[in-house]
Symmetry: C2
Subunit: 506 residues, 2 copies
């Protein structure tokens, strides 16, 4: 009886003990596992979707979701250039003879691989973070200049308590250290690619982590080092970008900010001096002192009596884009205005308005209109293994913030104002000798943000034939060069195929 | 009695139940909280560092740790240009008069802010991940082209079990959707900036997350959208980079890969036709058919009878870098070799060797030596609020991989081979009219990877005066232009101050 009673008491005690434990466990459970249930007042909806019936949207639906201007802008294995609506479609391969093509493809691939190597392409696959990592760390935006040192922000350990903490950091393109002053046995590998922290104090661990530094040790431009942070089985990885800052190339507009210290006009002429002279006269009516840069590949050099005209002669018939590239290479002002040699300035040709647009927006280039023609077009690129697909559509993407009459697009007419430094960076490919225009905007894809403001208008000289027999002869020769011959077209298609590594276009 | 016995049995049952629970809890605790203690055999070290004595390394120690070539490459509030060893030191502000300086500073700041706006600078502070987030997500490398759609990889929920799961995704520059086919009440906000998932099935939740898509909706170049992923109080944030791919500009070396289809030679001349002609002759001894591009700003144009020389005339005395920029603007081959007009080709001037280096490495520019002078120098940049500090040191950073006799550096002598497209992107600033050289490599900092191979040697024509009186007169005028006048030096210092936004240099 006594013994029974004592066992009974013991059971009672144990019961109470476990009951207490149970309550603690239950509270923990309810607070931690169902945080909502405690807070949320309204009854929760019970969406009905059995885990069994997992399925994807039908492809037609996905196509309709992510189609823009008739182009399905979703990753696919292969892009196509099917003629769409009244669009033409070009297959650039056709620019080469079938017998040459295999060799051309090999050369193109070899050149592309060299290009990729230098650009650090293709980029590595995205870095994925696992769930429930016990670390705080910087997922994005840590940058260091080559050979420089930076503190790595946001490093922290918030794992469970332990008698001893061991955290290891690893880098590959640089070395690690910590500004924390600790005994050697706490931090090992200072100034090496692997840094190990070993301490029994969480406070010490986090103090050391908060002061970890990364030092770039190899002189490289634009590389990404993936640094890892490990403890037991948990591994966090984050990128450290090694890169030089962009070197600014600023232009001093001068104390009075005169237009002539902000803008130069550039043009290219060939075998039609009378048009050029007429254009120059029209410029002087409205802008008496702006610098005008003229590139000329005619046979005879001209005499131009204008102290603000810079005149350059080129080998005969060197070509249209060579001349444009020469002209912009000589600009020393922040902005350059491009005009053709047969344009005509009027009181609607307000350069100041275009300057105001570039000053107040992020645009690199802003076009006006030539007698109402703005020639706005959008360019879309689709990736594909053996060359991208280019799609061209007339029109614009969106209105320009702050300028309701202007828009953002990919390409504009031959009358535009541009940031000189940006224009020079893209350049006009001197390989394009004759008819060429859009080629420049294709080369500028991704590096030039282009806008269009139709209210700034320039005129065009009449196409009526000239009286003077010499000039007429020149114009005749000019028209021959100006003609977009079949060879020229083939050359341009081949250039898109090889140079831009495009496969086709619509 | 009976009642007591039943209560006693109940207690017994409860005890067993809680005992079981207790054991489970204990096992969980031992496995989860002390994973090492179970695995590690050796006794753990007990580093001695009391959390109380947290301290940082003394500044002198930090300086010594992160000093390179005498420059402390660690972030500081202010950089200085103290003359170091036998280095000179320049304070670029001194190029301006004290009365002009305040206005100059304001103009420079305004131009710098415009530049920053267009470059998306300054970059936002790093994105920090908190510890123990219940999500898997991509920390780095997710990219989308403007207006395109991508699946977001690596999204996953691994939080604790719950009767109902609610996960919300938010974007700011684009919209979100999922390819998972679900009832409307499970996924809300498809095609909008906020997507909400509500389900009682973890499997369904993860299926939906695995198929989330991001669509860029604003046409922009190079922006970073920070997408957030939320559940209860946990928030993960990751970057989605909106950017156009770099448009390749490849050159076709042609079926036989002849040197003349790979390389053009570019030079600039002024008032010393005899030197130019001697140089051209020396080129033809070794490279009979390479295209040579000549930019000339002398008074009288030359007659050059060489079908492979392209000759360009400029306004008189337009200047040194203007001419260099003109010359490279006309190149149509993959590589361009820069030479001065008074150099002399010899059998040691092996262009093929330099081509081989650029073909097999990631260098953009590789210099040779002019009679043994390689003029190698390194450039270091230190950031500072009111302008960076530039440090120049002779020598190189490291040997060039694969070419033991070549090195990687920042600047080289006036005899170098370069990737045409890269060279044109940096360009020679036409504002630099007279003595200039390093200015080009400073402009190229961060965009040109430069190497030097001393074994490729070009000669230099003797400085002995000419007999011919006309030529002697020309050389006299030339020497006046060539002189590095005090005004010229002031102009260059001012250019570094304003254009490159540099504060000082050593």
């Amino acid at each position: 009886m006594t013994s029974f009673c004592s066992r009974c008491l013991w059971l009672l005690k144990m019961s109470v003990l476990f009951l207490a434990l149970g309550i603690v466990l239950f509270m923990f459970r309810s607070v931690y596992l169902y945080p909502e249930s405690s807070s949320s007042k309204a009854p929760l909806p019970q969406p009905s979707l059995a885990a069994g019936m997992l399925k994807l949207l039908p492809e037609e639906h996905v196509e309709s979701l992510f189609t823009h201007d008739g182009i399905w802008l979703f990753p696919k294995n292969q892009c196509k250039c099917e003629a769409w609506k009244h669009q033409e479609s070009y297959n650039f391969e056709n620019a080469y003879g079938q017998t040459d093509l295999p060799a051309v493809k090999m050369r193109r691939q070899a050149e592309f691989e060299h290009f990729q190597r230098r650009e650090g392409l293709p980029r590595p696959p995205p870095l994925l973070a696992q769930a429930n990592l016990p670390f705080g760390y910087p997922v994005h935006g840590v940058e260091v200049m080559p050979l420089h040192t930076i503190p790595i922000p946001g490093l922290q350990f918030e794992g469970p308590d332990a008698p001893i903490y061991k955290v290891t950091l690893k880098a590959s393109l640089g070395t690690l250290n910590t500004l924390a002053d600790t005994p050697d046995n706490v931090v090992q590998g200072r100034g090496q690619k692997q840094l190990t922290i070993l301490t029994s104090s969480r406070k010490v661990l986090n103090f050391i982590l908060q002061h970890v530094t990364y030092t770039s040790t190899e002189y490289q431009h634009h590389r990404v080092d993936v640094v890892s942070l490990e403890s037991n089985s948990s591994v966090a990885k984050f990128p450290v970008t090694i890169r030089f800052p962009v070197m600014p190339k600023l232009y001093d507009p001068g104390p009075e900010r005169k237009l002539r210290n902000l803008v130069s006009i550039a043009t290219k002429t060939f075998l039609r001096p009378h048009k050029l002279m007429t254009m120059l006269q029209s410029i002087r009516e409205y802008y008496p002192d702006l610098t005008v840069i003229v590139a000329d590949d005619s046979k005879e050099p001209l005499k131009i009596n204008d102290s603000h005209v810079e005149y350059y002669t080129m080998p005969y018939g060197k070509g249209w884009f060579a001349g444009r590239n020469l002209a912009i290479s000589q600009v020393t002002t922040k902005y350059v205005l491009w005009v053709d040699d047969d344009f005509l300035f009027s009181d609607k040709t307000k350069i100041e308005v275009l300057v105001d647009v570039l000053e107040k927006t992020e645009l690199d280039v802003v076009g006006g209109s030539v007698l109402g023609n703005t020639f706005q077009f959008k360019l879309f690129l689709e990736h594909s293994k053996n060359g991208d697909c280019l799609h061209r559509r007339t029109g614009f993407f969106r209105p320009l913030d702050g300028f309701p009459n202007c828009v953002v697009t990919s390409g504009v007419v031959n009358f535009f104002l541009a940031h000189t430094e940006r224009l020079q960076r893209v350049g006009f490919d001197p390989r394009l000798q004759r008819v060429a225009h859009s080629e420049f905007f294709i080369d500028g894809l991704g590096s030039l943000l282009v806008g269009s403001c139709p209210d700034v208008i320039i005129g065009h000289q009449p196409h009526s034939p000239v009286e003077d027999p010499d000039l007429a002869a020149l114009e005749k020769t000019y028209s021959i060069y100006r003609a977009n011959t079949n060879n020229e077209i083939q050359f341009k298609l081949a250039l898109h195929y090889f140079k831009n590594r495009l496969q086709c276009a619509t």
